[in-house]
């Protein structure tokens, strides 16, 4: 394999791995912050136990999200130097702003939250996890505005042999980036909701800490129901945006070969890319695809044949990932709705089958998020910046295949090890359940210290 293929594979591996941790962080931070807020409001120790239990799982996950994120920033320069030179003038800005505005906030206040239980007032402590949650989501906004620019470049001119920013506001208000942001964070909330529901289901099945886990389940089901509806609605607008701005990607997502008006949406399609057609194309709803794409059932959908072969994305992975993601999205709405009703009627502990389904459903939102990225990134090929720069022109010139082989193998081994450790720790603490000893949970002198730190003044 050459440097290009290796670098692409490496970016795919490291980005996919990074995005195992990010979505959970996006949603769980909000839920843990909400739990702690309930504790501050009610003084009910159950909420404290919940905060501590889910907070611990949050932190294990958070650590890996942070360390794998650094890799992403470094790789643009290491493997994609030509890209960085060509678009750095406009692409570098959101990355630098993300670090300055969001990442600092997140990483500084997470330290205060972990170690500050006895050092700041309860309200300030709860505020610190809210700041982490806000910063994490803000981080996503900047990163997705950057990615949104790669998908649908705006606010630039080609000048001095590169893309130069001429309109920062256009970058900030890029509809593609904003839709992508909402679609991504809502999908993260769904991941977090299923994470909590799955682990809660495990404990409810075991009849351990029923009150805590029923409350957790109900909270997560409500959050998950709203989020899975929102992710679907935003996803619809997002797909329409793709149809307008990236017609080749849209054609690949639906495996449409010939341009047609009032295009039908076919439930069952089996693509045959070699012969530029679909082997099977049935169970169609006339005009639906045109309606989904342009909110007009007679609109024209461009087929893949409109584009030169070298400008088409790989059809099969784009199409299959999109179908699977959308199907899972529908499933999540149904499951969270069922979960919400069951929890509301307090029928969870009498429905072991449903609990088991929810336990085994835990990984599926993760899968859906990965599939979404495959649609976004594979579907953008052969472009790294849509219509502006090809991926093959973006790779570093100064590196050799052996260097990238070494780093790819290194990442695979290191990340593999981290995955094992992460799963081991998450399973261990998820199974163990919350701590019962409250003296362990809260230091004995919360109020004393908040009032003046008597303990240290004596030192």
């Amino acid at each position: 394999m050459d440097v290009l293929a290796l670098s692409r594979l490496q970016f795919a591996v490291t980005a996919a791995f990074h995005f195992i941790f990010v979505p959970l962080t996006l949603g769980l931070s909000i839920l843990v912050a909400y739990m702690e807020t309930r504790y501050v409001q009610t003084g009910d120790e159950m909420y404290l136990k919940m905060t501590k239990f889910w907070g611990k799982l949050f932190l294990i996950n958070f650590a890996l999200g942070i360390v794998t994120g650094i890799t992403m920033e470094f790789q643009f320069g290491m493997n994609w130097a030509e890209y960085s030179k060509y678009v750095g003038d406009i692409f570098g800005a959101p990355l630098a702003i993300e670090a300055t505005v969001a990442f600092f906030l997140e990483s500084s206040f997470i330290g205060l939250w972990i170690f500050g239980w006895n050092r700041v007032s309860r309200k300030l402590h709860a505020l610190s996890i809210w700041l982490v949650a806000i910063a994490t989501n803000l981080s996503a906004l900047w990163i997705l505005l950057a990615n949104g620019w790669m998908q649908h470049p705006v606010g630039y001119v080609l000048r001095n042999g590169r893309a130069e920013m001429v309109d920062f506001t256009a970058l900030l208000t890029n509809g593609y980036g904003i839709l992508k942001f909402f679609h991504t964070v809502f999908s993260g909330y769904v991941v977090a909701a299923f994470f909590i529901m799955g682990i809660s289901a495990y404990h409810i099945l075991k009849k351990s800490n029923l009150k805590i886990f029923k409350t957790s389940f109900r909270m997560a089901a409500a959050f998950g129901l709203i989020s899975s509806l929102l992710v679907f609605i935003v996803g619809d607008f997002h797909a329409a945006m793709v149809a307008r701005t990236q017609p080749a990607k849209f054609a690949a997502m639906e495996s449409v070969w010939d341009t047609r008006k009032a295009a039908a949406f076919n439930l069952l399609v089996i693509p045959d890319p070699d012969n530029e057609r679909n082997t099977v194309e049935t169970l169609g709803v006339p005009g639906l695809l045109s309606f989904l794409a342009f909110h007009d059932s007679s609109a024209e959908i461009k087929g893949l044949k409109e584009f030169a072969k070298e400008n088409r994305p790989p059809v099969l992975p784009t199409y299959a990932s999109f179908r699977a993601m959308a199907g899972l999205g529908i499933l999540f709405m149904l499951l969270t709705l069922a979960g919400y009703i069951m929890a509301k009627k307090d029928r969870l502990d009498t429905s072991p089958l449903f609990l088991r389904i929810m336990l085994y459903a835990l990984p599926f939102p993760y899968l859906a998020a990965q599939l979404g990225w495959i649609v976004a990134e594979v579907g953008r090929q052969p472009w790294i910046v849509y219509g502006v720069l090809k991926t093959s022109d973006a790779v570093s010139k100064a590196i050799t295949p052996s260097q990238v082989w070494a780093s790819l193998i290194g990442f695979t081994l290191v990340y593999g090890l981290l995955a094992v450790v992460d799963i081991y720790l998450l399973t261990k603490f998820a199974k163990k359940g919350p701590d019962d000893d409250l003296s362990v949970l809260v230091g004995d002198s919360h109020t004393v210290r908040a009032a003046g730190g008597a303990t240290w003044n004596s030192r």
């Binding site: 643009f76 570098g92 630098a96 997470i110 330290g111 170690f115």
Partner: protein, 342 residues
């Protein structure tokens, strides 16, 4: 002032603050191996950086991001030319971060010992390699129209390695003063004594560094052109002396502040010598990457200046506030009770 110059200053500030802050984290990570006699002490040592190391590391991310946004030409070349060195730093930082977070998550001595090794290497390797990288940037890289003519081993020249050792000693000194401040129960005194001894090694290496910089690099040219600039290295020497003056009197807070100043002024000393280069070419100055030939457009620089001047002070304010909350290191009681502790 030209925006390129403003960004050159901001760029150096970001790196200098990064070294000042993550510097003691690295020092602590290295010293945990030598100063901790038992599990409790190792735990106490690592927990002194617990609340702050993560926020410190973001200065690196921001320095990297700022290089990307303000000097994309340099970012692209620096990161692809130094591919293997950066990769090793990256792996080390990954292990350091994970090790700190995970070391106490399983009640097992072997588990803890394993992660302690990761903390040690994850601190020593970046400390050394950041020094090697900056030493080589001071020296210039072998690059011309044909790109970069070097490998990982090109970087391991005597001057690069000397700068690496210099960085490691700076950070060990810095970390031991931090521990003298933040630990209790005899550990603080041991760390203080250690700082007093290591200082001599640091002084010796600093002297060799200053002299060999004359021969290995072109850094002094700017100083000879404008003698007033010598105030910065002079300040560095005074700050270095200050560490000892205060450490001998066991005034570790002032000694630590002196050490902060030493790291800041040492970084500035090197960077002033670089100006207007970001990475000089040691084959032909024509191919040096400068703040002018590798910068972003004026428009981007202006926007980034507004962002930086608005937000970096806010970041500093809340980080200082958090440092104040944790000005007394974690108590033994806190570490024992707090399950979130490392």
């Amino acid at each position: 002032m030209e925006f390129q110059v403003i960004w050159f200053i901001l760029w150096s500030v970001l790196w200098a603050v990064y070294f000042m802050l993550d510097g003691f984290d690295f020092g602590v990570g290295i010293l945990q191996k030598f100063l901790g006699r038992n599990r409790e002490e190792e735990r106490a040592i690592i927990n002194t950086i617990g609340p702050v190391w993560d926020g410190n590391e973001v200065w690196l991310i921001t320095a990297g991001g700022a290089t990307f946004a303000a000097f994309p030409g340099t970012y692209a070349m620096m990161f692809s030319y130094l591919y293997s060195a950066l990769l090793i730093i990256l792996f080390a930082l990954i292990f350091r971060g994970v090790a700190v977070e995970f070391r106490s998550k399983v009640e097992s001595e072997a588990w803890e010992k394993g992660w302690n090794v990761a903390v040690f290497l994850g601190s020593l390797i970046p400390a050394l390699l950041f020094g090697v990288a900056f030493g080589n940037i001071f020296r210039g890289l072998p690059m011309d129209a044909g790109g970069y003519h070097g490998t990982l081993f090109t970087l391991l020249n005597p001057y690069g390695l000397l700068t690496g050792v210099f960085f490691v000693l700076l950070f060990i000194e810095h970390g031991s003063l931090w521990l003298a401040l933040k630990t209790t129960g005899g550990l603080n005194e041991k760390a203080g004594r250690f700082a007093n001894v290591v200082w001599f090694a640091l002084l010796a290496v600093a002297a060799v560094f200053l002299v060999s910089t004359k021969f290995a690099t072109n850094l002094y040219a700017n100083y000879l052109g404008n003698a007033a600039l010598f105030a910065v290295p002079l300040f560095a020497v005074l700050a270095l002396a200050g560490i000892k003056v205060f450490a001998v009197r066991k005034d570790y807070l002032k000694a630590f502040y002196s050490s902060c100043l030493t790291i800041l002024t040492v970084t500035f000393t090197g960077v002033i010598g670089l100006y207007p280069n970001l990475i000089p070419s040691n084959l032909d100055p024509k191919y040096s990457l400068t703040i002018f030939n590798s910068s972003s457009s004026l428009y981007t620089l202006k926007i980034m200046t507004v962002v930086a001047l608005l937000f970096v002070p806010i970041v500093m304010a809340y980080q200082i506030w958090i440092y104040r909350i944790f000005r007394h290191g974690p108590t033994a009681e806190e570490i024992a009770k707090e399950k979130g502790a490392y």
